[in-house]
């Protein structure tokens, strides 16, 4: 494809289906026709937000080459990652680095922390001598606010969750990949350490030009990072665009619900006041995965007949925002004026 030259990562219509054990049951559609791309000329931060079961983790695994998608391609610098030669594959594994969800499960408890950092140095030939390797390791640890003397020589069980996640970042700093794929990196870390972690991600982008795909269900931390955002619901991307625009003016009813449900740190702005209107939204309705319908029909307050029979396509709301919702389709819903915000920005 011609345009994939300009994108260093191009995700083209990726779908992942999981078959069920019982015969005759339709497959579970974990990821449903997701497309996006990252530009090659600048480091970008893309945050993928969705509730549990929305397919975020499966999408991560598709991108990392761990679960081949049922349909669609993941194209990295013009090459499909599932059709790479082994050398290209090694290069891909070097340039795209994961941070996984559970820092307690990513380490081999029998090896010291040093090994996590030594192996990539050896494998990717990052240092010429042992002294240089040691120096690089210490530099990497300092870059993530860890004292090398505190960490080196220890075993994983001696470190806290925050320290372990930061060692994953130190490893990434060492390898200098082009892209970090972080799947819920903060879910197991203490609130007070979250900003430290997020600041490191920002530094890696701004000072080292490393792009990042950050997957989370926590909108507040996602907002702290800024950049681009995609909202996922039941395997589909339903809204995408610039983080600030989406957070201040969410257009898709699902995004509105999501943003509205983030607790606001202001006791004067509580939910009770808006309880009536929000009541049917918080009820956990069954969400259908009908290929020819909008995924949110079961809970949507604005549901129209067309939502149940057709699949909405992305409709540009403004230059920085697209929403897959028929409400913004002028042919179907002519009276819509663009986007009523669900909640005024509560910053003031």
């Amino acid at each position: 494809m011609a345009n994939s030259r300009n994108h260093f990562l191009d995700v083209q219509g990726v779908s992942t289906h999981f078959h069920r054990r019982q015969r005759g049951q339709p497959p579970v559609i974990a990821v449903d026709d997701v497309s996006f791309s990252l530009p090659s000329d600048q480091a970008t931060l893309l945050t993928i937000v969705g509730e549990s079961g929305s397919g975020k983790t499966t999408l991560t695994r598709n991108l990392l080459g761990l679960t081949p998608p049922t349909n669609g391609n993941v194209v990295y610098q013009g090459k499909d990652i599932y059709k790479m030669s082994s050398e290209e594959w090694v290069a891909y594994r070097r340039e795209v680095q994961p941070v996984f969800q559970d820092p307690y499960a990513t380490y081999n408890p029998f090896y010291r922390i040093d090994r996590v950092l030594e192996v990539p140095i050896r494998k990717f030939k990052l240092a010429k001598s042992k002294d240089e390797a040691r120096a690089r390791m210490e530099e990497a640890l300092q870059a993530v606010d860890l004292r090398p003397s505190d960490v080196l020589g220890r075993y994983p069980h001696q470190l806290s969750g925050g320290e372990r996640q930061r060692i994953m970042l130190a490893r990434i700093y060492l390898i200098r990949p082009k892209l970090i794929i972080a799947d819920e990196p903060l879910s197991m870390i203490d609130a007070s350490l979250r900003t430290v972690f997020l600041n490191i991600l920002l530094d890696l982008r701004d000072n080292h030009g490393i792009s990042c795909i950050h997957i989370t269900h926590n909108l507040a931390t996602a907002y702290y990072l800024g950049g681009q955002m995609m909202i996922m619901c039941r395997g589909r991307v339903i809204e995408r665009g610039d983080m600030d625009t989406i957070v201040t003016k969410p257009t898709h009813p699902y995004t509105q619900l999501l943003i509205e449900s983030v607790p606001s740190p202001d006791p004067d702005q509580r939910w009770q006041r808006k309880k009536q209107e929000a009541k049917n939204l918080t009820e956990i309705g069954e969400l259908k995965t009908d290929v020819n319908a909008c995924v949110f029909t079961g809970r949507c307050p604005h549901v129209m007949p067309v939502c149940r029979t057709q699949r909405p396509q992305f409709i540009p709301i403004n230059p920085a925002q697209e929403s897959a919702c028929f409400l913004y389709d002028k042919a179907i819903n002519p009276e819509i004026t663009n986007a009523a915000p669900a909640r005024q920005a509560s910053a003031d």
Binding site: E51, S52, S187, D190, A191, S192, L193, T195, V196, N199, L202, H217, N218, L219, A220, T221, Y223, Y224, G226, D244, V247, T248, L257, L258, I259, S261, V262, P263, S264, P265, D266, P267, D268, R270, W271, Q272, K275, L281, T282, E283, I284, R343, A345, S346, A347
Partner: protein, 369 residues
């Protein structure tokens, strides 16, 4: 009765270890009033959950309650009666005396038998990660009824009716009674646990981080279930969370805990507007605001102190921007500086002269807006 429902005085919970005594909770003073949602906040490791476990008397060796008292003043009469008017109290030799029930008692001094009488019926508990505490091979209803039959004189049929009632309060359909835990989502399991905690109409429900690791939509449904319970049955709720935004949505009064001690208590509205303790100020300044101005935040300087040997004097002094000499030597007491607002900080209270000074210039200037 003007007494608070729960009055914790000078509670200390220590843990033995080969390296010495871990002073996880070290001198906590707290009052929980009737019919309020009381929030307890602090970073992880500050001892929030240990305070809760001490109230429930669930501290197991190597932990032990070193000293202190936890006075509980139940509203005595009504609670022993079932809605049909009959007294349903199991009585026995080692149960609580009517006098104790009328005038309050110290939870720390209770033996196992009276504790069993108290638990669930007077004080119930929603433990951390409680959705994993359901028995996977029992139906939800059976587990709820089990708890009720253990702690009350309900008959099985009454218990079943009551179980369906409370499920409705937390917004779950009655079919959940016949479900196994794996058939429910995380949020539904969590709500089933909250419903179980409500079955015997306890006077105090303690919820320890009930929404951690849940999606925002589910979190909201759970918080609304808790509010519902408070409004419909007048239960007092003690809510523990490290997430201050959740406290802002839910609680009436909030206590901030740091290094095994309470550093500040006030109504949530006042505390969010004017936190006094430097630690609270830092904590509130670091809440991410959705849609607000994006600024780079720095975390609170330095590491959380070591539980084996707390810093002398004020425990926050190594990380405090306003630390003075006396902060390093004298431990500030928790003092009521204005009505309802308690704070433990030398900036506002002179230990020698007992003078309260709320307009400390240093803090005004240093306040993070």
């Amino acid at each position: 009765m003007n007494k608070p429902l729960l009055d914790i005085a000078n509670l200390r919970v220590y843990f033995h270890s080969v390296r010495g005594e871990y002073k996880v909770v070290d001198g906590v003073n707290l009052k929980v009033n009737r019919n309020e949602i009381f929030g307890l906040a602090g970073e992880s490791g500050c001892g929030k959950s240990t305070v809760i476990e001490a109230i429930m008397r669930l501290i197991r060796p190597p932990g032990y309650i070193q000293s202190g008292q936890i006075m509980f003043y139940p509203e005595s009469v009504a609670e022993n009666t079932h809605p049909d008017g009959k007294v349903r109290q199991k009585t026995g030799e080692d149960t609580l005396s009517p006098d104790q029930l009328a005038n309050g008692f110290d939870l720390v001094k209770l033996g196992e038998r009276p504790l069993q009488q108290i638990r669930w019926k007077y004080i119930s508990y929603v433990p951390q990660a409680s959705m994993n505490s359901l028995n996977p091979i029992m139906r939800i209803g059976a587990q709820m009824i089990d708890a009720m039959l253990t702690h009350s004189a309900y008959t099985k049929i009454e218990a079943q009716q009551r179980a369906a009632e409370v499920l409705e309060i937390v917004g779950l359909p009655p079919r959940v009674l016949w479900s196994y835990p794996h058939e429910l989502s995380g949020g539904m399991k969590q709500r089933a646990i909250i419903a179980t905690a409500m079955t015997l109409n306890p006077q105090l429900v303690i919820a320890d981080e009930p929404t951690t690791a849940l999606d925002v939509n589910v979190q909201r449904a759970i918080l609304e279930a808790i509010l519902n319970i408070k409004q419909e049955s007048g239960t007092t709720v003690m809510f523990v969370s490290h997430d201050l935004a959740v406290h802002a949505e839910l609680v009436d009064r909030l206590a901030i805990m740091y290094a095994g001690k309470i550093v500040e208590v006030d109504t949530v509205h006042k505390l969010f507007k004017e936190p006094l303790h430097p630690y609270s100020q830092r904590l509130f300044a670091s809440i991410p605001v959705l849609g607000g101005v994006r600024t780079r935040q720095e975390s609170i300087l330095g590491q959380a102190p070591d539980r084996l040997s707390w810093p002398p004097g004020c425990r926050f002094h190594p990380r405090c921007p306003f630390a003075m000499d006396k902060c390093k030597q004298i431990e500030p007491p928790l003092v009521e500086v204005e009505p309802g607002h308690q704070v433990a900080c030398h900036l506002y209270y002179d230990v020698n002269t007992r003078a309260i000074n709320l307009t400390n210039e240093k803090v005004q200037n240093g306040k993070l807006s």
